[in-house]
């Protein structure tokens, strides 16, 4: 009888261990979930939000001091709509829609990009 009693305890411990392992695996799982818009200036992320929140008509002011940069979303994607950088290259950049798309305002040292929140199979691109 003693054996049976301890068997019960044993299986409880094993079940608990299994549950704990599952919890651990779950906690460290690759997080999945859509696309994220990020803006980075001087090594700091100054804006991060789900790309889905940037729907038509929503504008984001990423200006800093005398450097004006405003992005907005339309059906073609997220693009720079106002910038006072010399050359204005960022205003002509292709709108961002998919993971990996990027618009850079080199004179204002501003990077905007769409990143995939899911852990992809690739760490970085060579181009």
């Amino acid at each position: 009888m003693t054996g049976k009693k301890y068997d019960w305890l044993l299986y409880s411990i094993l079940a608990a261990s299994f549950a704990l392992s599952c919890a651990l695996v779950f906690a460290t799982r690759p997080k999945d979930g859509g696309l994220t818009f990020e803006a980075v200036r001087g090594g700091t992320v100054i804006e991060r939000r789900r790309a889905a929140e940037l729907t038509d008509g929503v504008a984001l002011d990423l200006s800093s001091g005398a450097m004006t940069n405003i992005v907005a979303s339309d059906p073609t994607g997220i693009r720079m709509v106002l910038a006072n950088c010399p050359g204005g290259d960022c205003l002509r950049a292709r709108p961002m829609k998919n993971a990996g798309d990027m618009i850079v305002c080199i004179p204002h040292k501003l990077i905007m990009r769409i990143v995939s929140s899911s852990v992809g199979a690739i760490d970085v691109m060579s181009y």
């Binding site: 054996g3 990077i111 060579s126």
Partner: protein, 364 residues
């Protein structure tokens, strides 16, 4: 019965100890990671570094890495009139110019690469690239005369170096030094040295698509490492779409592509890679070359040179360079793509789902 119970106790104990060990490893694993992005060298740069150090120590290391990148950018830039490179061009055909040690080293690597590739890479291509850029930016094309005049001022033989103190001289009136084909490679190599000297055990350095990796990728802080996975850009698909993937724990992956920077004038497409023999932008079936090696500086120059040389000649040169791996992406007649890789990359490069088959070519 008692024996049976002891065995089960033993198994249970082992399970509990196993779980405990996982927790302890996770808690005690001292590896921290910091990551930073910026704009320098006319491109987007990103450095991720891991080490058994505090976050603030790691941030200090990244501060120094970014300061180094900016310093080197200032020295190498054609567009900064006080850079070493601009001063050399301003004194072209005249006096020796004192340069910084890094500029000397980058120039020495550039001259070496130029000799190795018989001028397919040429750090004095400046007059040609400027002639094209000036015309293309106003939506026209340079005339034959303009190109010929520019070509006369292109010659890496005119680049002279003196080691101590570091000095350089471009013995060519009207010559222009352009380190664009080697600067990012040299800077990434310098950043790698700095990170390693400061005890960084795992890192990913991305200077506008020039990639250098250190020590494999840490997995979930568990202490195990897997190779970094580096996508090679598809020549005609949106940025971030790989055509093949390289797995590498330590080394550099440097790509030159004719799709990367180009001008469109009158329906024609003009890339920023020029053939130093003709003075014209490259316009071939070879769309990109990726160099995998331990030397990103040389890799940068070789990737550009190989686009100019074409695949057969590049493969011929690689026969004497067993330490260098290469991937060639070419356009086929039916507007598909073909991938050739050197034999040493078997197992390290794979195609993407639905992507072209990779033909491995044994060079030695």
């Amino acid at each position: 019965m008692k024996r049976f119970f002891n065995l089960h106790s033993f198994i249970a104990l082992c399970s509990i100890m196993g779980i405990a060990a996982i927790f302890i490893i996770n808690r005690l694993d001292p590896l921290n990671t910091v990551s930073r992005d910026g704009v320098a060298l006319d491109t987007v740069i990103s450095v991720t570094a891991s080490a058994p150090k505090s976050i603030s120590e790691l941030n200090g290391i990244l501060n120094d890495a970014f300061a180094l990148i900016e310093e080197l950018d200032d020295r190498f830039s054609m567009y900064n009139e006080n850079s070493d490179v601009s001063l050399m061009s301003a004194n072209a055909g005249g006096e020796w110019v004192p340069v910084s040690r890094p500029t000397y080293e980058a120039l020495a690597a550039a001259v070496h690469a130029a000799k190795l590739t018989d001028g397919a890479y040429d750090p004095t291509i400046g007059p040609v690239s400027i002639a094209w850029r000036d015309r293309l930016s106003e939506n026209s094309l340079p005339s034959e005369e303009e190109i010929d005049a520019a070509l006369l001022r292109v010659s890496f033989d005119a680049l002279e170096l003196s080691s101590s103190p570091p000095m350089a001289k471009l013995d060519m009136p009207g010559g222009v030094v352009d380190l664009g084909g080697i600067a990012k490679g040299y800077v990434s190599s310098s950043v790698r040295n700095l990170l390693k000297e400061r005890g960084v055990t795992s890192a990913l350095i991305d200077l506008g698509g020039n990639v250098v990796v250190i020590g494999g990728r840490p997995r979930n802080g568990s202490g195990t490492r897997t190779p970094w996975r580096i996508g090679v850009q598809h020549p005609s698909k949106p940025r971030g779409t790989p055509i093949c993937v390289v797995s590498l724990s330590e080394g550099s992956v440097i790509t030159a592509g004719d799709y990367e920077r180009f001008w469109e004038v009158d329906g024609g497409r003009y890339t920023h890679i020029y053939n130093p023999a003709t003075g014209f932008p490259v316009d071939g079936r070879l769309k990109s070359v990726t160099i995998i090696s331990d030397d990103p500086t040389q890799g940068d120059a070789l990737s550009t040179a190989f686009i100019v040389m074409g695949e057969p000649q590049a493969l011929e040169l690689l026969r004497i360079m067993p330490e260098v791996g290469a991937i060639f992406i070419s356009e086929t007649d039916d507007e598909e793509y073909r991938i050739t890789a050197t034999g040493d990359l078997k197992g390290a490069v794979e195609t993407t789902p639905g992507g072209p088959h990779i033909a491995f070519h044994d060079t030695w």
